[in-house]
Symmetry: D3
Subunit: 336 residues, 6 copies
Amino acid sequence: MSKNSSPIVALSDMTDGQDADLFALCVSREQLTTRDGKPYFKVAFRDAAREVSFPIWADSPHADACRDEWKPGEFYKIRAIYRDTNYGPQLDIRKIRPVAEADREDGFDPAMCLPSTRFDPEEMFAEMVGFAKDKIGDGALSDLVVDLLEINRAELLTMPAAKVNHHAFAGGLLEHTLSVVRTSDYLADKYDAYYPDLRPRLSKDLVIAGAILHDIGKLRELEQQPQGADYTAPGHLIGHILQGRDMVREAAVGRDLSADTLLRLEHIIVSHQRLPEWGSPKPPMTPEALLVHYADDMDAKYHMMAAVLRDGTSTGPITSQRNPLHQRLYRGEVDE
Amino acid sequence: MSKNSSPIVALSDMTDGQDADLFALCVSREQLTTRDGKPYFKVAFRDAAREVSFPIWADSPHADACRDEWKPGEFYKIRAIYRDTNYGPQLDIRKIRPVAEADREDGFDPAMCLPSTRFDPEEMFAEMVGFAKDKIGDGALSDLVVDLLEINRAELLTMPAAKVNHHAFAGGLLEHTLSVVRTSDYLADKYDAYYPDLRPRLSKDLVIAGAILHDIGKLRELEQQPQGADYTAPGHLIGHILQGRDMVREAAVGRDLSADTLLRLEHIIVSHQRLPEWGSPKPPMTPEALLVHYADDMDAKYHMMAAVLRDGTSTGPITSQRNPLHQRLYRGEVDE
Amino acid sequence: MSKNSSPIVALSDMTDGQDADLFALCVSREQLTTRDGKPYFKVAFRDAAREVSFPIWADSPHADACRDEWKPGEFYKIRAIYRDTNYGPQLDIRKIRPVAEADREDGFDPAMCLPSTRFDPEEMFAEMVGFAKDKIGDGALSDLVVDLLEINRAELLTMPAAKVNHHAFAGGLLEHTLSVVRTSDYLADKYDAYYPDLRPRLSKDLVIAGAILHDIGKLRELEQQPQGADYTAPGHLIGHILQGRDMVREAAVGRDLSADTLLRLEHIIVSHQRLPEWGSPKPPMTPEALLVHYADDMDAKYHMMAAVLRDGTSTGPITSQRNPLHQRLYRGEVDE
Amino acid sequence: MSKNSSPIVALSDMTDGQDADLFALCVSREQLTTRDGKPYFKVAFRDAAREVSFPIWADSPHADACRDEWKPGEFYKIRAIYRDTNYGPQLDIRKIRPVAEADREDGFDPAMCLPSTRFDPEEMFAEMVGFAKDKIGDGALSDLVVDLLEINRAELLTMPAAKVNHHAFAGGLLEHTLSVVRTSDYLADKYDAYYPDLRPRLSKDLVIAGAILHDIGKLRELEQQPQGADYTAPGHLIGHILQGRDMVREAAVGRDLSADTLLRLEHIIVSHQRLPEWGSPKPPMTPEALLVHYADDMDAKYHMMAAVLRDGTSTGPITSQRNPLHQRLYRGEVDE
Amino acid sequence: MSKNSSPIVALSDMTDGQDADLFALCVSREQLTTRDGKPYFKVAFRDAAREVSFPIWADSPHADACRDEWKPGEFYKIRAIYRDTNYGPQLDIRKIRPVAEADREDGFDPAMCLPSTRFDPEEMFAEMVGFAKDKIGDGALSDLVVDLLEINRAELLTMPAAKVNHHAFAGGLLEHTLSVVRTSDYLADKYDAYYPDLRPRLSKDLVIAGAILHDIGKLRELEQQPQGADYTAPGHLIGHILQGRDMVREAAVGRDLSADTLLRLEHIIVSHQRLPEWGSPKPPMTPEALLVHYADDMDAKYHMMAAVLRDGTSTGPITSQRNPLHQRLYRGEVDE
Amino acid sequence: MSKNSSPIVALSDMTDGQDADLFALCVSREQLTTRDGKPYFKVAFRDAAREVSFPIWADSPHADACRDEWKPGEFYKIRAIYRDTNYGPQLDIRKIRPVAEADREDGFDPAMCLPSTRFDPEEMFAEMVGFAKDKIGDGALSDLVVDLLEINRAELLTMPAAKVNHHAFAGGLLEHTLSVVRTSDYLADKYDAYYPDLRPRLSKDLVIAGAILHDIGKLRELEQQPQGADYTAPGHLIGHILQGRDMVREAAVGRDLSADTLLRLEHIIVSHQRLPEWGSPKPPMTPEALLVHYADDMDAKYHMMAAVLRDGTSTGPITSQRNPLHQRLYRGEVDE
């Protein structure tokens, strides 16, 4: 740590009035004018757990730098006094400069500015590979799934499951997918035992493979940027359902996978959102596709509901309906 | 067994050309006329696993009895030759009379003429009571659920889950409900572990109680008749969702149950079909209601899909769309 | 009246520049900041016919009291100059304190701050009871309806028909219900005369009872607060259609009411909004239910239309579509 | 009456086994073949209250005449034995010939073969004209309505309100329209008294005129044929809502009617079915249009419901849903 | 030009800092207040290709004139300095007065302040008349179309096709209609050649006449005002589809046009938007109506898409979905 | 031709009573029973322009062969008397045997039994290749399209465009596609000229390529069988929109095609049905995709309409609504 510096703390750990050095990501910079015509910039900085937003006025010593140099998506080292005001958390900036390579020695890490999964990505990835290796009996299918995971390992460790809505944080895709796999594992065992006379039998192999790969196309639909995930052009024009099927078809070339198995696996991906208006051109037409659809739909909806109840700012027993579920939820009386 | 009789066999065990005595339920008797004006009756008899349907012509020795005496919903002892014709299974009736009390000595049991669950109703009922006793920590709530089960024990052991569509056989309501309870038990544990910081915590008590009682109103919506379940007048005018909530409210009177717990339990029942057009005036607004909805919806749909694939008469890899799911299913090539 | 006071006037009677004492309800207090960062409070006060909304700046002599003491839902005695500005009606507050018990001597009455029905609630209530007594021939049914009215007399005299949308003022539920009863009375006579051969005959008893009770569940769905009605938790989770049926069922216990009559009455309540997406799990399946549905729907829609045409602020022959009907209305040229 | 004839009776008065002369309308003649290839004709005859349908076999003495001469839409004098069989009412034809002019002396009247309104068309017409004269204060508007009625008097006395669905019998349009006018009369008085401060006031003139003319376009949409009403080509391509407005606009030429009054009247006609998918390009945008819509909609739906309950062939407390309302109705237990 | 004046330039040609005289249309004047209570007016002026919007503060020398005299819809001669600021284009007004008659000598023309079609209205009109004369073989039909065009010539030369959405500029109705006619001309030839055995043959006459007249009712639905088109009262209450048919029916009186031809022409107009919810009470039921529908729908949608891609302010390869098509569009990378 | 034979004629050329030899395809053979229990087979044979359907009774000399040997999908040489009866065209079979290789000498050709396009497939194919070569300037794109056409030449010459609905005959896919290409060619030129300032310019290359390939996936979705086209398993589970995109992506591997061009081409295929419920997961987001969508939609709908008007069996000016468009059409009075 360079001498003379204030202590370096996390933005989200700062308390009212604290004067400190911190690393933060610039997430927005808008040029606005007050209703009476006075120009200013509204800027926002954040780390993984706190976002602050405040004005930079024309007469601020940082006005020129703000206009000409600050860029959303870049990281800054800031010396500032944090204030917890009635108008939300604010920074009174005293010094600011872009992060330099040397700052890593002082603890800077881009990941510290992104909200991310509560779970360990490496452990989740390992568990997912374990499912693919241990619970898919068909060797060719198991290999295909394992290879797809390994090839995309780096992105899977950090990709969100969505731009907004659900699991929109680093590692969110992995967290959501693993949860779907676990539920699918339970359901496959349960329903195979309930209907042992189904012909053909329910394929546990396909349920597990489909659960692992149902959202794999998000790796092509989205791209990660410092501020979070955003849609790629192919993501807009084609969509993750078709792109995920592409990844499976490309990976299947040259493998000893039966045509029927590949077709059924593609169908799970194609149909996993069930309704055309949700993006699936075909509804689930096999028992395996039906189970993966339910495991996925339930996990996304439950996550949204939990997030609204946990993070929502509205108080009182009933929430507003301005949330991803577009309906009110009941929290009841909570004593804390 | 009275002497001189043919051996008594089950209708569903008869083979082409076999001449035997059997017990069967008359399930329909329609007065029709051929396109060229010749009157006849079309009658149908069945036991639990086979239904036969054939004409009784005006010149049949049974014509008068058919017109004047045979009644759908009554049981008959029949001596007949069974024929497996190109036009489906038929009976060439030689003698027929209503079942008499004494026939029970020869093995007659009304239940032998009804399709019924593959599982043991008593065991399922016991498991359900076990859930209510062991997995609902709130004593007042556990007692309410157990009492509702015990009071309706007799009907629960035999009631179908629906008139048509899914689990439409004796014990079907119990089979379906137990399956929903098991899935709900898994999901409650899983999602409580995933979101331990939810306030209030997910209530396993409510999930289990809601799962057990979600369809309890079918005991008032439907009534059992020899031919199967049919809607009661209140079932038509009010519906099982409201009627099930009535049963819970009536049972709650005088118990030491908190108002909030009762309200949340009622809400699970009211919202379990999620959409207004499916009968739920409110969508799931609590995590508990969301889980019970998914466990229920998935079990009904999976059962329909399995039944189509298992029983459907269409051959080839793709089924027709004339089934309760109103869509085609993929069976693929099945070698048997 | 205490000496030295200004004259006490109604807020809604004040004229531009008038300096007077008044009683008013605080209906909102929001902490805001101007776009350039200056904090202030925006407060609103009202009596039955006028609402004023204005800022309290940090340098106001009332700033501390506003922040620490003023509360929405409480009544205040205010000395102020009223100004009718281009920015809406405003109060220049000189003195302000919470209403005290003694103020009632000076004419304070909480009801003076609530918009309310144009009709006399006692007269309306008496007319409604008269319908129940005179036009319901079945004694048990007549008694049930009269008792339900009498038991809920206090709340019925003041409850709005809704939080927003239609008849959202004190006594609005009574005003709306009485209008529905009158129309239903006309329609029952008319259509019974048109179709005298209906079997069973149209039941005037049920039409009147159903009309009186169709919205009775709003007494449980809503609760009155100084600022108006708001939903209760059971109102959100269950809804007035089910709650109204509960009230009827609870009131019916121990009465000599035929099961069929009770069922038909419950059905009128359950089906009165006709469509699932409007809250009715069942559509009207009896002539009585159909008539009550139309009388109700028409009264609500006509009230909305009249309110938009009468109160809407838009000028010109065509209104905007931002109103509870979500469509434009035609006012035409009005010369006044 | 010519000598030697059997007594002439109404088809709908005949009893089982009765041999008589009757007049009947041939309503259909289809050339069919039994499933095993035997050709025959199925013919139907009716009078106002009974329809009989039976086969004419190739070996019938009437086979040639049936094939070559009998025509749907023509009237016949028939000597036949009526039989009330299990296969419905039938005629055993002994003689048959087209009705001749001289048969009118024996009581033949084409109207006797058409179902028709229970009310006296002349009285209904007179009442309608009375409404137009007495309850429309604006002289020009009153004249327009009266003239439109008088010009179309002959057709109005006999036109059905629809090809199928509701009031599909002679005079049905008049019966339905008069009922709508009466309800509209009541509603206009009621709601004008409720909202006397509406600006402009509710126009009773427009409500009455709109109610009388709302369906006037059916005179162009439909044309009467002996078997009932059928759509004209303009009826199919344009529809009665636009055609009714045409009739009003054509009749308004040269009258001293204000442009705003004419516009509001046209709008009532254009919007009276409320929804685009029911044929109205615009929703009711005036209070007058709203009232006429409700009076009309309610009368049509009530008529359908009454017809199903009265005439429906299904027995038991609940009807089937194969009726114009596409839903089940509750009849309950009816003892007769 | 009067001496001493600055040069007169077009507002849309001014550059940053330029001081000049200009003519402009006042398009809005709103009385607002800053969040902290300071009153001001926000005014907007425009010519055909640029709109400027800026505040007039209470202390401005123009404050009184702004409040008392400036009116949206009137034209002004302004001396001002144009500034291209970060807050959009602004005018620093030095002098302003309403346009006077004499200003026409200096080049003032109201049309200079309206966006208008890129094409020459006279040429387009002539081409349209040419279509009507040359490509409609039926003389009576050709005359009717030509007469309708000539009678409405003045309005057609300037009317927009809509208030917003598509072709919302002077001459837009003509531009859109001519494009529809050209496409219809191509399609009629093509499909008549493809299906020469259609009976009756596809009528080129009707396709051309229908294409020319499909939107003619907009001349009654809309009225031109200086700021653009707005709906008339009949436009709101009846709509251009019915009004266009009126114009054709009125013009057809006394002509030697066959009833079937007129009916088919009316039907093209009535059905050209295809869906009830888009305003067409009937769908296209003839080949001619189908072709005109497609030619129209495609032209409107293509124009919207082109306008979004050309004028939309969003940058980057994907547009936002806030546009008349309510969906995102793909622009891709454009290098300019 | 072998001696002693009857003359060989086409089934569709036979006249009532004619006795001849013919070649025909067996298209169905159903085992039925008359309502009174008599078993028989209903068989159908056809050539390209006529289908005959008739019973084979148990006592027919062909009964055994019919049951044991005749197979739908196989061709037969038949000696029979053709009868044009009231019950449709029938064959009185005298001799029948499967077609043998030698029959080709007598003129047998399987194609003679299939309805097929009125146009010459080779000419259409050549014109399509011409479009791909001459109107696609981008060499890599032109090559890709030409290669895809050439590789699939054999199937394209004969594939129908659908199993039912539109262009469901041999060569129908080619006929439909060529028509779409021609219209797209016109529209691309027209709209590029209308909006020359679009950035990027409308790509004629992409419009032509997209039009040619929009339905190419039908080659994988459908498979040809003697009786017509039927869905493959991948067709059911994945669908032609995704499969067509696969074909393009597979063909693009290793070519020098820009990523943006390929993406835009894929998007045209993906979006060409516009709505999710019609199978397109994304709506047209580029001008090129919009034009191809309209050219395609219009051609399919026009073909359906022409087919109903030309082939429909209903007479009179209005058709029934039992046709692929699910609506009535207007034919008017046709004199022939």
